[in-house]
Point group: C2
Chain length 428, copies 2
């Protein structure tokens, strides 16, 4: 049996996991594919670096082209990250008719359409299960499991760093800054955490999920992203008191041919399955017209969970190679959609206001909501012990994003309103 | 484009859902498959019966062979249930080279190996996503998503009827008999509920999941099944007080080459994701060596969720037909395993004893556990207000099934023990 030969680009955390799984599970892989799977060559930045895995030094190279242009290699597995070199390498690989497995969400979110088209043109496979939610096979689920259904909504906790931070803030009443520092010390957050905490990483993953779920092109620029760096421990304590957990949610919605994809800190009702997804775990909650509500939960990152998805893709591509059908199952985006306007994006909202503590204030404020025809689910007014102001907490019924923006503008003009302290979307 | 022609066996709840989804989502299906999907003929027991779906009467027939032997038909979709006629029809269909999609867990659990082999021999597909956990694409997930991993444990809430009953008992403190009657009135339980409440339905589904997850043959007779008909509201109230929910869990385990598959009411720690799966929902919790812990949650039954899985299988088979690769992706069981003995099956246990309320009793009882080297996580003794006895509640550390059986035998011989009231496995 002719072995399937892999060229591995990158030997960091995920790359090391891929080597380990292919070694440890070789028998099982062979039983499923019908051939051995061999890692032929590995691209590293320094062949002499000490590594925490036993590896034959002959397998290592610092020259990417030696791998990509090696006619023996069937599948290029890209786990190096970044979008410049990785893109260049994968384009050349696809042009040479090689199959590609990648864990690179940035590349997929930014150049996905281009890479998928190129793969189809060259009868090559491109698989990327590991690019979203590590070990959870959510891409297969959307593409195959729900192929018969019309997905209307995808809500995801798809960034482990921010979920770790929010979970700690919720469970320990700690501040954002303190938890972030701790997360950095533990390696759960990077030295420059911007991409995670500002929601950019989640936005990229949501662009990929929305494209697959709704069968339509979704540009990264179509995804609005708001992060968690302004979330205070007071906000979380309010959320909990009202029966919610604060989560950084990616939310993708599709009604008829209109879509909206966003990432923002969101109050999730405690009874909702997403509310109890804690720590570095990820979960994707998918609603389909026919299937109803489903959720997929698991490790969102880490060496072996992510490598599991990469190697599952290697198995799928290897089977396709054996059957001579590579490039035949590339996912297409056959639907034309447009972006929802702010008038069409609708949800419940939570708002916390600091107001002057005097008669008639509540009437003046609720009038602002009435003016834009936003009805209220609950309103609580209470004194703020720290100062002379009162606090008003409002949870609205479904309201358009435009109406909420107008109301905030209106409130900011009122003399009795000291500040609109917090505004969160509400789900569940 | 030559259409894909379906022969539908059965027009009950799921069959009706299949017709609806194929009609309503025809454009999307066509976009994915590259051909229209047409339901050519439908087997019913009475063509003149009034139905709650508009259907051309010419499509209906009472003669199964007219469908199975129709050379125009590409895929036989079996949603009629039962194991006698359904088996006869599918064997003939496979022998004629037709592809099969079925939702029939009984058939798969009892004759799965035979049908799969026959399909492979005839280069036909046989897909059965809907046979386990309705709308949750768990079979795809095990077969493809985790193809690279070694699954060590599968725990499932895979029967909606019993989960509905246990949820009601837990939330309302109601008795088993009362909730069962209510469930029957609402259509959540059948007039003869035996198959559901005695764990037989769950056992069939667990046999299918274990076979796929562990790549090994699993006979239905290898699955031990214990139902919920003896669960008392007192048991549930004890469980809750100790921080557990009582769930009917299917548990399949594989260590090296030894497996054990069982279904039993189990105390699940409240912090475990399975504990909050309520009502008619299903969930499957999968542990893999590399991927760690994952969970898949959704509707376990119902017209449209189940039909979603059936039609997703139709899409997959149709793509295989187009690519000329039917029969090439039949799942194989390539591992030889043996059943774990009672000595090898290990878990924590909860035990409730009624004992005489006098000095030295606790010492006598804990001595029985010590004799079989079972250590205890917690022991509570309290008076029982209803009678002259005391109650002792024991939660053990991991213990073998054999040791627990020996201990119970020992306890039953003790004069101070009035009865061993309850025994439950503990997970989470």
């Amino acid at each position: 049996m002719k072995p399937i030969k892999i060229g591995l680009l990158g030997l960091g955390t995920v790359g090391t996991g891929v080597v380990r799984i292919i070694e440890n599970h070789q028998d099982d892989l062979q039983n499923q594919i019908g051939s051995p799977v061999i890692i032929e060559k590995i691209l590293v930045s320094n062949v002499n670096k000490k590594r925490n895995i036993d590896i034959n030094l002959d397998k290592l190279t610092e020259d990417a082209w030696e791998i990509i242009r090696n006619p023996e290699i069937d599948i290029i597995v890209e786990v190096m990250g970044g979008t410049t070199l990785a893109k260049e390498y994968l384009i050349e690989a696809l042009n040479l008719g090689k199959n590609v497995v990648t864990a690179n969400k940035d590349l997929l979110a930014m150049y996905g359409s281009e890479l998928l088209q190129l793969a189809a043109k060259n009868s090559s496979d491109i698989y990327y299960e590991a690019s979203v939610a590590g070990g959870i096979p959510i891409i297969r689920t959307l593409v195959e499991g729900f192929s018969s259904d019309r997905i209307t909504k995808i809500m995801g906790i798809v960034n482990g760093t921010t979920n770790y931070i929010l979970t700690k803030m919720s469970q320990e009443g700690a501040s954002y800054d303190d938890v972030l520092k701790e997360a950095q010390k533990l390696g759960y957050a990077e030295a420059d955490p911007t991409s995670d905490v500002e929601g950019l990483d989640a936005a990229r993953k949501m662009a990929i999920l929305a494209r697959l779920g709704f069968h339509t092109p979704v540009a990264l620029s179509d995804v609005t992203a708001e992060g968690i760096s302004n979330v205070s421990k007071e906000d979380i304590s309010y959320a909990k008191r009202l029966g919610y957990e604060l989560k950084l949610l990616g939310i993708a919605e599709c009604d008829e041919n209109q879509i909206a994809v966003s990432v923002q800190p969101t109050m999730v009702k405690k009874s909702h399955p997403l509310a109890s997804v804690n720590g570095v775990y990820n979960a994707v909650f998918v609603t389909g017209e026919a299937v109803g509500e489903t959720m997929f939960y698991g490790a969102g990152a880490g060496e072996l969970p992510t490598a599991t998805s990469v190697v599952a893709d290697i198995v799928a591509v290897s089977k396709n190679i054996k059957l001579g059908i590579t490039g035949k199952r590339v996912n297409t985006t056959f639907k034309k959609t447009e972006q929802k306007t702010k008038e069409q994006i609708s949800s419940k909202y939570f708002m916390l206001l600091h107001v002057a503590d005097r008669a008639g204030v509540l009437a003046r404020i609720t009038q602002a909501f009435a003016q834009y025809e936003v009805s209220l689910e609950s309103v609580v007014q209470q004194p703020n012990p720290d100062n002379m102001n009162a606090e008003i907490i409002v949870i609205t019924h479904d309201a358009s994003k435009l109406a909420i923006e107008n109301i905030i503008e209106e409130l900011n003009c009122l003399e009795v309103v000291k500040s609109v302290k917090s505004l969160y979307r509400v789900e569940g």
